[in-house]
Amino acid sequence: MSGADALQHATTLALAILIVALLLTIVRLIRGPTLPDRILALDLLTTLAIGFIAAIAIRTGFSLYLDIAISIGLLGFLSTIALARYVLRQAEKQDSSATSGGVSR
C-alpha cells in the first residue's frame, strides 16, 4: 500500500469516526438539561467541524479549505463568548430583581 492509498483510507476512516462524534454531540445538544450544556455542545460541534474540514482538505488536496476551518474556529469562539455573556446577563438580572424585590429596575 503506497502512502497516497494509506492517506485515502485514513481520511475515509477519520470522516466516519467524526460523523459518529458529531451525532453523539447533537444528542447532548438536544437532551442537554441546561442552557450552558447546550452552549458546550455547540462549542464542541465547531471544534469537530474544524477537524472534519481538515480531513476533507487532506483528502481532496485543496489547501483553501484551511482558511474556512480557521474562520469557523473564529466564529465558534465568538459565539461561545457571546452566549456565555448572555448567561451572565441573565444571572445578573435574576440577582438584581431578587435583592431589590423588583422595585427599582
Binding site: A69, L83, L88
Partner: protein, 117 residues
Amino acid sequence: MITALLQYVAAALTVLGAVFGLLAAVGVLRLPDLYTRMHAASKAGVVGAGLMLLAMAIESGDGSVIVRALLGILFLLLSTPVGAHLLAKAAYRVGLRPIVSNSFNDMEAEKEPPTIQ
C-alpha cells in the same frame, strides 16, 4: 521515500485526531455534570482538531499551508480555554453547582441520587 513516510505519519495523525474527537463526544454525552463535560470537550476536542490540522501541515509540505495550519492550532489552543473559563464562570454564577462526589457509583444511583450542593 521521505514523501511516503510523511504521508504515513499524516495518515496516522488523522485517525488519531478523529479518535480524540470521538472521545470528546462520548465524554460530553456520558459524564454526569456540566463541569466534567466541559473538561472532556475543551481538552480532548482541541487535541483532536489540532492533530488533524498538524496532519495537514505535515502532508502538504508547502510553506504557506504549514504556517496557516500552525497558526490555526495556536489560535485553537488560545481561544478554547478562554471560552470554557467564561462559560464555567457564567454557569456557576447562574446557579449550577458541580457534583461533589468524584467517585460516582452507578450501582448505588437508584437508592440515593448524587449529592448536589
